[in-house]
């Protein structure tokens, strides 16, 4: 929005610049600080006596002989079995994304091409389902899952995450398929294609922008989930986020805080890279439901 007539006073410009810089500092500094601190020892990053230790690395020098140390990472990944957690996260994420996209594209395509009333009601129900706090659903799962003895394993969690993810995926892909002209697949139907053939040969080649956006959001949900994975997986199968929580320790046993710090950095870095790469899709996904109404 560059107004040709609009001239901004220099005072306003400076004020604006200062505001943006302040906000960016608030938004980003905690991550930069944690990244920096993850290469120190605990006495430096969590020092009561002098916060400058975290910069000058006084204790890190004493304990390890260098200004930076990657001990926290090596220990968390080996001793803390963070490699196992990240392996589980990769399994969960890959399956959740592919299954929920497969189900979501079919369902959303049908919704977008249906003129019946029930399509509207299905979308409304999906909206209500989207509003359910995950923890209330989990409290419904636990008992049946214990009884069926399918608690604690990865496949259960994957299916649950796919289902929880469906309402949002449906809405996103629905509003995307609405922008794909109806005439495309209608002409294929007139030529004698079935709906499945039309979907396979006409829609699939053009749906990738929408699918990538929906995929990114499924990925972020599966990757970031804490509620479901913490309560539905056993210790052995924990993914990254519940694993980080277990490093924090409880009243009963002391955790290892530096492991948690390095684990947080290890878990966040791939996500940031991904968003940096796909920034445009993330933003279009967030606004899909809103701007078009």
């Amino acid at each position: 929005m560059d107004y040709g007539l609009d001239t901004k006073s220099t005072r306003l410009k400076t004020f604006n610049t200062i505001f943006i810089i302040t906000w960016l500092l608030i938004a980003c500094f905690p991550f930069i600080w944690t990244f920096w601190g993850s290469f120190k020892v605990r006495a430096d990053f969590f020092s009561r006596s002098d916060w400058w230790y975290a910069i000058s690395a006084f204790n890190t020098l004493v304990e390890t002989g260098g200004k930076f140390t990657s001990n926290a990472y090596t220990e968390a990944w080996t001793e803390g079995e963070f490699w196992k957690a990240s392996k589980n996260t990769i399994i969960v994420t890959v399956f959740v994304v592919s299954i929920s996209l497969f189900l979501g594209t079919l369902g959303a395509y049908a919704l977008s091409r249906s003129t019946e009333k029930y399509a509207f009601w299905i979308l409304m129900i999906a909206l209500i389902f989207r509003a359910m706090p995950h923890i209330t659903l989990v409290s419904g799962y636990l008992f049946p899952f214990f009884e069926l003895q399918i608690w604690g394993i990865l496949p259960t969690t994957i299916v649950v995450l796919v289902a929880i993810n469906q309402p949002f995926t449906l809405w996103l892909l629905y509003s995307f398929f609405k922008t794909v002209p109806k005439e495309l697949d209608e002409s294929a139907l007139i030529d004698g294609c079935t709906y499945f053939q039309a979907f396979r040969h006409i829609i699939m080649p053009v749906m990738w922008p929408g699918v990538i956006t929906a995929g990114l959001f499924s990925l972020m949900l599966a990757y970031n989930d804490f509620t479901v994975t913490a309560l539905l997986l056993n210790q052995e199968n924990h993914t990254m986020v519940p694993k980080i929580q277990s490093y924090l320790g409880t009243n009963q046993h002391e955790g290892n805080l530096m492991w948690a710090v390095s684990a947080v950095v290890s878990a966040t870095a791939p996500l940031f890279m991904l968003v940096m790469f796909f920034q445009r899709q993330v933003i279009s996904g967030l606004t899909a439901g809103a701007v078009k109404g």
């Binding site: 929005m1 107004y3 604006n16 505001f19 906000w23 608030i26 938004a27 991550f31 600080w33 990053f45 969590f46 009561r48 916060w51 497969f102 189900l103 079919l106 369902g107 049908a110 091409r113 019946e116 299905i122 409304m124 909206l127 389902f129 509003a131 359910m132 706090p133 923890i135 209330t136 659903l137 409290s139 419904g140 636990l142 008992f143 289902a163 929880i164 469906q166 449906l170 709906y195 979907f199 970031n224 804490f226 309560l231 986020v241 980080i244 929580q245 924090l248 948690a260 710090v261 947080v264 878990a267 996500l271 940031f272 968003v275 920034q279 993330v282 933003i283 606004t287 809103a290 701007v291």
Partner: protein, 342 residues
């Protein structure tokens, strides 16, 4: 699209949602009417040279037997809903009769676990949602005035707090403001008060979690508002400039009315998300002074001795009712629009 084709296309996703969202809600409803079994006790007579004593011990064998026979627990009706940990009907009656002033009554009631959590959840929603809208809008306006070339990286920096999971986001902040972190330690030095820390004060904890909420959710509001700002038509704004409208007047009379539908959308979504606040409480280890409804459910489900399914389910049902009340105006409006559109 014919109904039959629609059915086959929609079947997989519909089945997934019915099985894992619809049924669990029903299962929660059923569980909320049951409570875990009482432990079976037996009397044990123990005699020694000084006489006999009768003591009561837990009969583990019998208890397990009953638990295995009826794993769901014993039927409790609305008992769980009205007990001390939920609506606490009896306690409230008692407080009403016993306390002198209304203030004391409110004080007593807000100390009951369910009401305590409800009040925190509502306070959180009430403070976070408007501030998120406001801050998001200001950032969007402000970024919109920056040269187009450098907007990309600025947007990336802005959305960082949103894309990390709430647990990680709150941990990252907590490590800075904890008494051993960079900000917390410095504030202690400045105030010259070595005991000043997040955990020592309930108000401070609440403020911190609310600030965290604003930090975490503003980027979402920003992104949506920013996209909406791109669609504001230029002509009315130019006309307003010629007519001598100030910047503030332009925003108030042209920009805001244009993006109004988006504002309600963002408000709704962030209200829904704020109502389920839970991970930051774990991240900030604030269980002592701030509990939310979702946290109560979580706490029941990770109970060490026996998982309190009934109690968790009752809180869940009441949370769902809360969500329904929040959503009702929107649903009613949509339904009316739908009816008039027909």
């Amino acid at each position: 699209m014919p109904n039959k084709t629609f059915f086959w296309f929609f079947l997989p996703t519909g089945l997934a949602m019915i099985l894992f969202i619809g049924l669990p809600i029903i299962s929660t409803g059923i569980q909320s009417f049951y409570a875990q079994h009482d432990q079976v006790v037996k009397e044990v007579k123990k005699c020694d040279p000084f006489g006999c004593t009768v003591s009561i011990v837990v009969d583990n064998e019998e208890t397990t037997k009953i638990r295995d026979a009826k794993p769901l627990g014993k039927f409790n009706g609305f008992g769980t809903y009205t007990d001390r940990n939920h609506l606490a009907v009896d306690e409230i009656k008692k407080f009403w009769n016993e306390t002198e002033s209304f203030g004391a009554f409110v004080d007593q009631v807000t100390n009951l676990p369910f009401y305590k959590a409800l009040i925190f959840t509502l306070t959180y929603c009430l403070f976070v949602t408007p501030n998120v809208l406001l801050l998001g809008f200001i950032i969007a306006l402000s970024l919109n005035a920056v040269a187009r070339k450098i907007r990309g990286p600025l947007i990336f920096g802005t959305i960082l707090p949103m894309i990390v999971t709430p647990l990680v986001g709150s941990l990252v902040l907590f490590w800075m403001i904890d008494s051993q972190g960079i900000i917390g330690a410095n504030i202690q030095n400045l105030m010259n008060d070595p005991y000043l820390s997040l955990k020592s004060s309930k108000t401070l904890t609440w403020i911190t979690i609310i600030i965290y909420g604003i930090w975490h959710h503003s980027p979402f509001a920003f992104v949506v508002f920013y996209a909406a700002l791109q669609t504001v038509p230029q002509e009315p704004i130019e006309a307003a400039i010629i007519d001598g409208a100030s910047r503030l007047q332009r925003i108030k009379h042209i920009v805001l009315p244009h993006i109004y539908p988006v504002v309600t959308f963002v408000a709704l979504i962030s209200l829904m998300d704020n109502f389920r606040v839970f991970e930051p409480i774990i991240g900030f280890s604030a269980e002592g002074s701030a509990q939310s409804l979702s946290w109560l459910i979580y706490d029941n489900l990770v109970n060490e001795e026996v998982i309190l399914f009934g109690s968790a389910a009752a809180t869940s049902m009441m949370t769902i009712i809360g969500i329904a009340i929040l959503l009702a105006p929107v649903l009613i409006r949509t339904w009316k629009e739908f009816k008039t559109a027909r």
